[in-house]
């Protein structure tokens, strides 16, 4: 169980702000920190891991003080499995070497072999990371994080660099492993579909604070906007069309055009991540 109550001054793109978060995560839970880039999600994750230090507050994990009262438990002794956004595999070691390196002294020798088997890395185990595809590297990074037998799994936007198909496959994998090892997991994400698929609880972080908290369906679902379908998308272009504006969106791997008013247009610019809500009063379902 994680009990966290911290503050840290952060320098953002629009001036500095304070990361001020109080939260509690139960053992075995899968929680997502959701929000825009620069909201402080990754810093929060780094504070839990011990890669960054809060200015004040406390972090307790399973009754053990990790931070607070002038004491800081070094990152080496926190036993976290941290998966970086760009995986950060050790280039000088093979796939198996990466996993062996992660194994803690005295830990079960079979764990590495077990992970290689579970994650179907057998074929790749003697290859160097540079020769692997993005999806393969991601699997190795996940296996490495688990090889350290962590009491806490921290995932920093683990699927952001992958194509849609690989992404879905690996999300299933993460879910399966998280349940297999019953490991408390905190994931940072800005992808709604990802949050829906993986976590039971989502904390929406805005400007360093928890703005909303609840099950993904409550946060993104019908209750809030009266819509039934929710898609996460990115604004690609905005064009004027008579009195309204046509916004071109990238949703998943599809391009969609949506009409918005001049007023709504003011709040959007290309590159923005948006949520597309649609009422499902007339859906067409086609078997595929």
């Amino acid at each position: 169980m994680i009990e966290l109550d911290i503050r840290k001054e952060l320098a953002g793109a629009q001036g500095s702000f304070t990361l001020d978060v109080k939260m509690r995560i139960e053992r075995g839970e899968f929680v997502t920190l959701f929000g825009l880039s620069g909201a402080g999600k990754t810093t929060l994750l780094r504070c839990i891991a011990g890669l960054a230090a809060p200015d004040s507050g406390s972090i307790r994990v399973n009754g053990e003080a990790w931070f607070g009262g002038g004491e800081t438990l070094p990152v080496q002794r926190r036993r976290v499995g941290y998966m970086f956004q760009d995986y950060v595999l050790f280039p000088n070691m093979t796939v198996r070497g990466n996993l062996e390196f992660a194994r803690r002294p005295g830990a079960d020798r079979h764990r590495v072999s077990e992970l290689i088997e579970i994650m179907a890395l057998g074929e790749l185990q003697h290859r160097k990371p540079a020769t692997l595809s993005g999806g393969q590297q991601q699997r190795v990074a996940l296996a490495r994080a688990l090889a350290a037998d962590p009491q806490l799994l921290l995932l920093d936007e683990p699927f952001s660099a992958l194509d849609q198909e690989t992404c879905l496959r690996l999300q299933d994998e993460v879910l399966r492993l998280q349940r297999h090892f019953a490991i408390t997991t905190v994931m940072v994400s800005h992808d709604v579909s990802e949050v829906y698929r993986l976590s039971r609880r989502v904390l929406v972080i805005e400007h360093g604070r928890i703005a909303r908290e609840g099950a993904p369906a409550e946060i993104f679902g019908a209750g809030r906007a009266g819509g039934k379908f929710v898609f996460a998308g990115e604004v690609l272009a905005i064009e004027a069309a008579d009195v309204v504006f046509a916004v071109t969106l990238l949703v998943g791997n599809q391009i969609v055009r949506v009409i918005v008013t001049a007023e709504e247009r003011l709040r959007l610019k290309p590159g923005d991540r948006v949520m597309l809500l649609s009422k499902a009063f007339n859906p067409v379902l086609v078997p595929c």
């Binding site: 890669l51 080496q76 002794r77 970086f84 950060v88 390196f101 992660a102 490495r144």
Partner: protein
Amino acid sequence: MHYDWQPLLLTFKLAAITTFILCLIGIPFAWWLSQTKVRIKPALEALVAMPLVLPPSVLGFYLLLAFSPAHWFGGAVEHMTGIKLAFSFSGLVVASVIFSFPFLVHPVQSGFQNLPQSLSEAASTLGKSRWQIFLHVLLPNIKPSLLAGIVLSFAHTIGEFGVVLMIGGNMPGETRVASIAIYDEVEALNYGTANFYALVLFGVCFAILLGVYLVNKKLAMRVG
């Protein structure tokens, strides 16, 4: 014309010992320098780089003064270890280590600096100590920089002349390295012998550098 291998052997012995000592001191120092945030870092970096721009005679002059048994440094070294630094092989080693320091530290330091910070972070989340990270993660990933640093400092020590002349003199078997011997032979109009030493140095240095470029090409291909 007589061929004496002694100056050449002495040169390579000096270069090998110097490079070995440089690795022991210079690699950890380069690592520290790449990480540190101390305020005197620019001053330290300037000091390390000094031998690149300073005339060897300047460095040689001060080392000569410092190595003298009358000076506190030379006196203390002689008193404590019995080693005489002025006009001796040991003195040459000390001077060469100082003089070739930037040639090892610079490439190795930039090698460490070019490694992503997240590499150390990833290893530390896996419970590894700073020393384990240095040995198993950082060092193996800067092999081309290490190779460049080691070879450059070795080759630079071979090519040393001014400092050796100032503090070593010209004692056969002790301080008469090949570069001094060439100068000496030319002065005595023994062009043939001078040519022999010069040609060997030329060939060896070329072979070493060629080796480095070939190995680096291979390393680059393996990564790419």
